[in-house]
Symmetry: C2
Subunit: 274 residues, 2 copies
């Protein structure tokens, strides 16, 4: 049977989600527990492979198992063995044709920056320090230029290996917080470093270093060097993963056309209900 | 000349202040920078040697140097070379007979716990998770039993090597926060694990597992096993270090007699003003 885990992790002390040659990874921690339980290797499949230092408030992974445990027992088995910076928030059995990556039809990311007279050591690794003043209105105006379906070559790492760089942005909002700004973006999917490059570009605009009006031309250039630098990983949170059209429709402007990728039919009901 | 640094650090990824055989320490990070600047080893002396995992909102260290730099240049030299989890907040030249440890006449610690349906991975290492309900009034009533000068053998690690276990507690207050409790204690000094054992004991009282009325007898027992366990390091913050009688007098109830240890005359003015 196929099991879906919903989990959260603090990325500060991980080399990212995916197993690397060296360093702690989220995948390693989960597969280590599964291996002990099954006395055999069990592969997990995430909805998203977050980078080094990136946090997840909501991530999904699925795996196949012959063990017949209740959701509560699975959750306890993981949480009692996981380190303090990963926590399994929910467990459900799902249909065997459900895939956490292929059935993901959208993701929401949040990017947190704080302003202060000097770096706050207690926020190290979990928020980005940015001392400069930013123009909120300019950033929000500029963010709207990303909406819709575009080839985001200019806004992803030059190392991106994937061929199809077309993605759809459903909403992009910058909010003032108590001591800084939150950038909140929802899209069909995001390329390597894409959120961090868009955020840094908006911060440059908010600081008056770049013009909001230039974004369409920068997108059209399909050239990484046309856009701004890459904001640090520590402020980035994978906030939500959309596995159903209903969930996604609730969080984006009414009437927005939802793209379901790979021509797969997206689930129309919560997989936990199946 | 003698230089005093005021610094702050996030203890989550340190093996404590003092250099150990293995692992990152705050002392190592500071002495590494001084060695590079002096092309020679320069020893630093802290006001307090915080344990593994304990944070400092305010710590002092002093060192002697033949380099003639302004306070700004010293601060920049450190902050541009220190890792993100240490920050030098102020630098002053001080008299050569001033010693950051011997002239410390008091310390304030804060202990932070949060309550939630489950562990918050973003608070890992920086606050202690405690899901149980606590009685604030009972904890505050019990905390008053620690005030005054006592032999704190029952409330320090059995591994404490120091002979004289007499310390003076000037104030002890428990506050309700947005999502938990803050324990705030000011004393002449604290023994090994002393704050963490007192806090855990108060938490046990707040949960109805121990009685406030028993504290005087537990102190009198001079036996570590008479008191509660040791609360985790991650919630503990060295919040303030008092180098002058004036500073300490401001933070404790008016008229409280201040003990100056080692018969040394405590500074009566801010050392930065000398």
């Amino acid at each position: 049977m196929r099991i879906l885990l919903q989990l959260t992790y603090n990325g500060a002390n991980f080399q990212g989600f995916q197993i690397q040659n060296e360093g702690r990874t989220v995948q390693y921690e989960l597969e280590r527990i599964l291996k002990r339980m099954h006395r055999d290797f069990v592969r997990i499949h995430p909805s998203s492979r977050t980078d080094k230092g990136v946090h997840a408030l909501c991530q999904y992974v699925h795996f196949d198992t012959h063990l017949n445990l209740t959701a509560d027992k699975w959750q306890h088995a993981f949480n009692s063995a996981l380190p303090d910076d990963i926590y399994v928030t929910a467990v459900r059995q799902i249909p065997e044709d459900f895939h956490s990556r292929y059935h993901c039809i959208g993701k929401a990311y949040r990017y947190k920056i704080y302003q202060a007279p000097y770096r706050d050591v207690m926020k190290t690794g979990i928020e980005t320090y940015y001392p400069h003043d930013l123009n909120l209105e300019l950033m929000n105006e500029a963010a709207q230029a990303f909406l819709g379906t575009h080839d985001f070559t200019s806004f992803c790492s030059a190392k991106t290996e994937i061929e199809n760089k077309e993605r759809t942005i459903y909403s992009f909002q910058v909010d003032k917080t108590k001591d800084g700004y939150d950038f909140h973006v929802i899209g069909s999917g995001f390329l390597y470093n894409m959120v961090r490059i868009m955020v840094q570009h908006l911060m440059d605009i908010g600081q008056g270093k770049k013009n909001a009006a230039d974004i369409p031309a920068i997108i059209a250039a399909r050239d990484r060097t046309a856009a701004g630098k890459t904001a640090p990983a520590e402020g980035l949170y994978l906030e939500k993963i959309y596995l159903t059209v209903e969930e996604l429709a609730q969080d984006i402007p009414p009437g927005t056309k939802i793209i379901t990728k790979n021509n797969r039919k997206a689930l129309t009901t919560d997989p936990g209900m199946l």
